[in-house]
Amino acid sequence: MTPTVFRPSGAGLRSAAGFLATLALGLALLFGAPHTLDTFGLVQCTGFAALAMFGLSQGFVWGFAGVMSFGQAAFLGLGGYAYAVAVLNLGDSTLPVLCAIAVPMLFAALLGYFMFYGRISDAYIGVITLTVSVILFQLVNATSGSQYRIGAAELGGFNGIPAIPALNLPGHPGEPLDTDGIWYAAMGALILVYVVLRAVLASRFGRVVVAIRENETRAQLIGYDPRLYKLLAFTIAAGVAGLAGCLYANWGGFISPTVFGLPMSAQVIIYVLVGGLGTLVGPMLGAVLIQALIITAGSQSVLDSNLGLGLVLVGFVLLVPQGLVPVLRGLSWRLIERRAGKAAPGPLATETAR
């Protein structure tokens, strides 16, 4: 199945070109970075890759399924903790990675069933997801003390879980990947998830998900059950966020309840908004830009990072509500077409955005 099946021909070409360009850039980064960056740079980029995947999760569920999850951090945290607890108990990291994907998906399936089949309106879904992430934060935060342990893993409450073993090749526990290896795993996973999400969106399932975002009543009246599609999209996004949490735990070898916190859910919404709602590249780009901004603010302490984020958020809502990627794409295509001597046909901002 290709994304061009039912797409306006011009936009389809552009979209395919955009997809290939993103893929090429991703692969170039994947293999190029270990040879051009020092260890620290690579570690830094591994962190960016984990957060970019978190951005993808929010970008998918919000931008394509139209589900306003204000508590996506809940799934990031569940994924990270599931990985940490499982790997500390099992040693080999293969099953723990699957746990990091499965546990958030299971949780999302239950929560989603509760919300979507309970006919809870969109705004309230935002409130409930946010509240659920607050509840998880408070519960995990209150697990200090050695009585709170799952097998060999002490949950550690506010302190979190330090010294989490890194990923290893399947079947070789005790030989954790080095910095390069974790980079390949993280960036490779990011590219894979991007490709998979593209395929999902190009499939019939994906088209219906987008159609439901556009008009839930109409989708119902032609025989689709919006509750089911939203639930599935919500669950898929939770799995992606869980994998991001697993990578995040690998990146620092450490996880604490702050991954469940409101600032984390806030950041990921800002990634999507800045990068571009309704795109997959945008949230990844937004993640890198915003994260770089936070880190720079911290080491300079010139501009308070909250103040910076707040201004960025208000500025984008008021001035660039569609986000960077759609704007940049529109501009670049227009430039290319002008250079090629063609007039820019039709509206392309929204179509190329997908």
């Binding site: 705004a123 309230y124 935060n141 008021l318």
Partner: protein
């Protein structure tokens, strides 16, 4: 039972606190369908106003009860004119924008005053319930909460402004046809909500640490209490605060404040699932 008396007193204090932190959010949400995520920061600004004013030698009661609503009301007015008014009818965007405002205010106050916890001392003493001590200040909180509810009721029920507000709430186009500018009404409503948040911040300043990030502790609770209460601002806020405040205080006493908070939030989620329109959306629909 002295202990029961103390517990009942605490429950009432908890309810009153919830009423205070919720009312401003409820006014803005009820009238304008805007979920104001900067609500906690409006409270924070109110608390800072109280701390600054009392530090500058202003009478403590004026510093706590009069100045914060005025100052924060004006700030709310300015924000409405510069940010919010461009986003009417776009619920998600207003949520995001007010979130941006919230982060920005935290950052701004941190930059201006530093990330320092400040405080003002409680202006009244304590009294005994049997052999237990309790703070007289809790009575001040209860009185303020009751006063705020009564004032809101009076405003909505008996004034022309209240009538216009209710009309706009029912049908903005109808109100416009009657010669009322909905924009003016929204502006005033937002300022009113901000002022109520400022009042809550001012009155709670003496018992909680005042710091730039203090608002975060309140916003989730306020938010979910508003939704639990439903469309009738006063009755809804009162009933939901009563329900959630009781659950919170009793569970906290039996276990820990964390479990108390979790119980509050979980109860609220259940309530919203069972009554998506809130308590007053299902019952008491004709109330204010």
């Amino acid at each position: 039972m002295d202990l029961a008396g103390l517990l009942a007193f605490n429950v009432l204090t908890g309810i009153a606190t919830l009423v205070l932190i919720t009312l401003g959010l409820g006014v803005i949400y009820g009238m304008m369908r805007i979920i104001n995520l900067a609500h906690g920061e409006f409270m924070m600004l109110g608390a800072y106003t109280a701390v600054m004013a009392s530090g500058a030698g202003v009478n403590i009661w004026i510093a706590m009860l009069v100045l914060p609503p005025l100052v924060v009301g004006v700030i709310g007015l300015v924000l409405e004119r510069t940010v919010i008014r461009f986003l009417y009818g776009r619920m998600m965007d207003t949520m995001l924008a007010t979130w941006g405002v919230s982060l920005g205010l935290i950052g701004l106050v941190t930059t201006l005053y530093g990330n320092v916890v400040r405080g003002v001392s409680t202006p009244v003493g304590s009294f005994d319930i049997g052999r237990y001590g309790a703070s007289l200040y809790s009575l001040v909180i209860m009185a303020t909460a009751l006063g705020a509810l009564a004032a809101m009721f009076g405003l909505l029920r008996f004034t022309k402004f209240g009538l216009i507000l209710r009309a706009t709430m029912q049908n903005p186009r109808m109100a416009a046809a009657l010669g009322v500018q909905p924009n003016r009404i929204y502006m005033a409503t937002f300022a009113l909500g901000a002022a109520l948040a400022g009042l809550a911040g001012g009155i709670l300043a003496p018992i909680s640490g005042v710091s730039p990030a203090m608002g975060a502790a309140y916003v989730a609770r306020a938010f979910i209490t508003v939704l639990g209460g439903g469309p009738a601002i006063i009755t809804g806020t009162g009933l939901a605060s009563g329900l959630f405040g009781t659950i919170n205080e009793l569970v906290s006493f039996k276990t820990t404040p964390v479990i108390g908070d979790v119980a509050l939030l979980a109860a609220a989620i259940l309530l919203i699932r069972l009554l998506p329109q809130g308590i007053t959306g299902r019952y008491l629909r004709r109330s204010l």
